[in-house]
């Protein structure tokens, strides 16, 4: 019975939170409206605009800080090249590789997964694995330190426990329940 009532108590705030979210549902964007990029722009997102004046991709060039905030002439030229090669029937990989041949790997907006560039992808993975290993090692070391505490004597008293120890235990309990 007690368990059931506790769960019921948890339900109310959860429902309150749900109601709040239900109220915000009309505010959410129209999910179906997502704007599909055309094929050239999709590929254009994989290569950088090589004008030298911005850090944008060719497909998403806004040329921040330029006289014209939009795809600059370089980005437009690259998109036209992509369009022409798509029309010729070239594969996506071939089109991207043709830019790599022209400009080097610096043209790619994200590092390739192979070769030295692949290291960029491996760093977060290795960091995660090493970190996870460290966390598990720390947990296991901390767990090993646990020493069995002798059970308290009968309810009537606490023989063998000094008032100082009791105070420390109380202080610890207070800290544990504060935050």
């Amino acid at each position: 019975m007690i368990r059931k009532s506790k769960r019921k108590r948890a339900l109310l705030p959860s429902l309150l939170a749900a109601l709040c979210f239900a109220g915000t549902l009309p505010l959410l964007p129209a999910f179906g409206d997502g704007q599909p990029l055309d094929h050239a722009h999709q590929l254009g997102m994989k290569v950088r605009c090589m004008c030298g004046g911005c850090n944008d991709s060719a497909g998403g060039c806004y040329h921040v800080g330029g006289a014209f905030s939009g795809p600059c002439d370089t980005a437009k030229g690259m998109l036209k090249t992509i369009d022409a090669r798509i029309a010729k029937g070239d594969s996506d990989d071939l089109i991207v590789q043709s830019f790599v041949q022209d400009y080097g790997q610096v043209v790619l907006t994200e590092p390739p997964h192979s070769g030295f560039a692949g290291l960029a992808w491996w760093i977060p993975v290795v960091a995660l694995a090493a970190g996870l290993g460290l966390v598990l090692a720390v947990i296991s070391r901390w767990r090993k330190r646990i020493t069995p505490v002798p059970a308290l004597a009968g309810a009537g008293g606490v023989p063998g426990i000094s008032s100082e120890l009791l105070e420390r235990a109380r202080a610890q309990a207070a800290r544990d329940t504060e935050d």
């Binding site: 769960r7 939170a17 997502g34 760093i123 977060p124």
Partner: protein, 688 residues
């Protein structure tokens, strides 16, 4: 005034050197007069930096165009408001501004703790003076803002001259947020010096007790609050001024500001384990050290030009000074740690894997992996060029692919962590605390999926936001209900009372709620739309439910620029709802152009209209680029909540004090409780 300011900076440098050397002598000799003189010298350093900073501002306000720095970054027609911001428009001024903000912190610490923590403060004073010496070296000998304007004369020698007007401020900085964003961000960067000083001082002094960790936490929270506000204000500036429709582009300088924020956030969580359980001492000290090191690394990235960035206006060749400083700090930290590592032994053990301690460990892991990924991605182009000879770009797609899953896991932990008990959480407690939030999150996810949402990350993000919100509500509800039952006050009053009794805990929940709102806003980016079109007056363009009609153009000459403004009327279902005026500004003094974006902002979405320029095709028609950015307002609102929550967490607790009715009879409280006596109590308000 330039000589006056310059002289003040030289004196500040001398005082800082004395504070450093005298402070070390005071630590060695323990002579009270030396301790006092070193502290007073530190205070004098700060006052002299204030004087130097006010001097340069005076040069700006008095249009003193004999000063090279004022000529480069101001002009007569520049709005007074922006003359304040012109101080940090260039390298020399922003380094002085850094010293100025650091001086405010140092002054506050030296004055506030002048009669406290006697064993610790001399060490703190020496460390702070050391950091000040570095920046004052730059201010005095490397990048002085007080240089007089000089031009080559007829005989080839340099002649001091005064110009009638200056070059003006770069247009990108002529926006109100640029007067607020850098001070906030710099206050964050400089603020992390204080926890660093306390942590290093405690380690060097082997300072007993946990007092230093409380001080470190408090100052970290202050710096973290400024850093959070600075990052969000910067994002808002990028959104409203740069005109590219986004707020975060993973630019190296943006990344640099995120790095110390991530480690600072990790510290603010793991420090609780030290305070509560005496654990993670080594980890915490290194988190504080890393945060400060990352602040300096960030400044190095911003200033050195080693990575290309849109923040090019702040770049120069002083990077090697920062590298040297980084090496010195790292060496100091390593030596201090190696010599005193036994001082940092953990006191407790982990009782269970299902505990709050574990959740903090995972929280720290995710934050640090994200930090490593961002740092590696930012520096990888430089690294690849050095190793393989060819530069490999690391752009937004990389950062998004790595950080989105990490961010979502962190969001999950935001909901899980606070509901786990310290030491051990029972299975029953797990079920009781998590069942309904989890169910609601899942239901929310399913509803959104059925409503047509197919973006996986956005879907997971919204479901997790529901889950976290439910857990936070539950925490407030439970606590407030207890107070309400006792006091009979309204639920809201009880919730406020609850918050004020444990500001740190409930302030933290408010911060978490702010982060949830920010995540909602970030998830909205998945549904972004945009359209670009050349428009003739009278023509229209459609984006989502909005129809925009170009009504006309006008030109508005202002004191400092000429504004070319488009007049656009916005319709929804043929009903006019709004006029928008996207603008391009031409600044005559330096020939640069700037964008003023017009934004119609609602909680659902932002209609974001940019006057992109005149058609490069030769028609000279205005080109309009419009974006529909869903849920962006939630990010700014979330940011306000985060700052508010941090301020609440910084407030002292108002607590209920137990007043024993039999106060006259002295009896140890412990004994009363051991023997099961129930003292009659009344509640009284108090503060700690």
């Amino acid at each position: 005034m330039d000589v006056f300011g310059s002289f003040a900076l030289v004196l500040a440098f001398i005082c800082a050197v004395y504070a450093f050397v005298g402070g070390i002598a005071a630590i060695v000799t323990r002579h009270p007069l030396l301790v006092k003189s070193a502290r007073q010298s530190g205070i004098a350093t700060c006052c002299l930096i204030f004087i130097a900073t006010f001097s340069i501002e005076y040069l700006f306000f008095s249009d003193n165009f004999a000063s090279a720095y004022v000529v480069s970054h101001s002009n007569r027609a520049l709005d007074t408001f922006y003359k304040i911001g012109a101080l940090w428009a260039g390298q020399e001024g922003s380094l002085l501004f850094w010293s100025f903000l650091l001086a405010i912190y140092v002054f506050s610490v030296l004055v506030a703790y002048r009669n406290k923590n006697g064993e610790l403060m001399p060490y703190v004073g020496v460390i702070l003076a050391g950091v000040q010496i570095f920046f004052l070296t730059l201010n005095n000998f490397v990048a002085s803002p007080f240089k007089a304007l000089a031009v080559p004369g007829a005989n080839g020698a340099m002649e001091f001259v005064a110009r009638s007007d200056g070059n003006g401020l770069t247009p990108l900085l002529q926006y109100p947020e640029m007067v607020i964003h850098p001070p906030n961000l710099y206050s964050g960067y400089t603020g992390f010096t204080i926890p660093f000083a306390f942590a290093l001082a405690a380690l060097l002094a082997r300072y007993p007790g946990e007092k230093w960790i409380h001080l470190t936490r408090k100052w970290t929270m202050i710096a973290w609050c400024f850093q959070s506000a600075g990052i969000l204000l910067g994002a808002h500036w990028a959104y409203a001024v740069l005109g590219w429709g986004g707020y975060w582009g993973w630019d190296p300088v943006e990344n640099a500001s995120l790095l110390p924020w991530l480690t600072g956030t990790a510290f603010l969580h793991s420090v609780m384990m030290q305070e509560k359980r005496g654990m993670m001492k080594v980890w915490n000290v290194w988190l504080v050290f890393s945060t400060f090191l990352l602040c300096i690394t960030g400044t190095f990235l911003t200033r050195s030009g080693v990575v290309s960035s849109v923040h090019a206006f702040a770049q120069s060749n002083i990077g090697h000074w920062f590298v040297g400083f980084l090496v010195v700090i790292l060496a100091t930290c390593l030596v201090a740690y190696v010599k005193n590592r036994d001082y940092l032994k953990s006191e407790n053990q982990l009782d269970s894997i299902v505990s709050r301690e574990s959740s903090f460990l995972f929280n720290n892991l995710i934050l640090l992996v994200s930090c490593v990924a961002v740092l590696a991605g930012t520096l990888f182009p430089v690294l690849s060029e050095a190793v393989s000879g060819s530069k490999i770009s690391v752009g937004a797609p990389f950062f998004n692919k790595v950080n989105i899953p990490l961010g979502l896991f962190l969001l999950f932990l935001t909901g899980v962590g606070p509901l786990l008990a310290w030491r051990k959480t029972s299975a029953e407690s797990l079920k009781r605390n998590f069942a309904w939030p989890l169910i609601l999150g899942l239901i929310g996810g399913v509803i959104l999926f059925l409503a047509g949402m197919r973006e996986v990350y956005a879907l997971i993000c919204f479901a997790l936001c529901i889950f976290v919100t439910a857990t936070i509500f539950m925490e407030f509800y439970r606590g407030a209900k207890v107070i309400r039952t006792r006091s009979g006050a309204s639920f809201l009053t009880s919730a406020i009372e609850l918050t004020m009794r444990n500001t740190r805990r409930y302030g933290g929940y408010i911060v978490h709620m702010g982060m949830v709102l920010i995540f909602i806003g970030l998830a909205g980016a998945a549904f972004k739309q945009d359209v670009q079109k050349e428009m003739q007056p009278g023509s229209s363009m459609q984006l989502g439910k909005y129809t925009m009609v170009l009504q006309g153009l006008d030109t508005k000459p202002e004191a400092n620029y000429t504004g070319h403004r488009l007049i656009m009327e916005v319709f929804v279902a043929n009903k006019p709802i709004m006029m928008l005026y996207p603008e391009r500004r031409e600044f005559e003094t330096n020939g640069e152009t700037g964008t003023m974006v017009a934004i119609y902002s609602t909680l659902r979405e932002d209609l974001y209209v940019v006057y992109a320029g005149q058609s490069p095709a030769g028609t000279n028609l205005p080109v309009i680029h419009a974006y529909l950015n869903p849920l962006v307002k939630w990010i700014w609102f979330g940011g306000v909540i985060v700052v508010f929550g941090t301020l609440v967490a910084l407030m002292p607790n108002r607590r209920a004090v137990l007043v024993l009715s039999g106060a006259g009879a002295k009896q140890p409280a412990g004994d009363q409780l051991v023997h099961g006596m129930r003292p009659s109590v009344t509640m009284r308000e108090g503060h700690d």
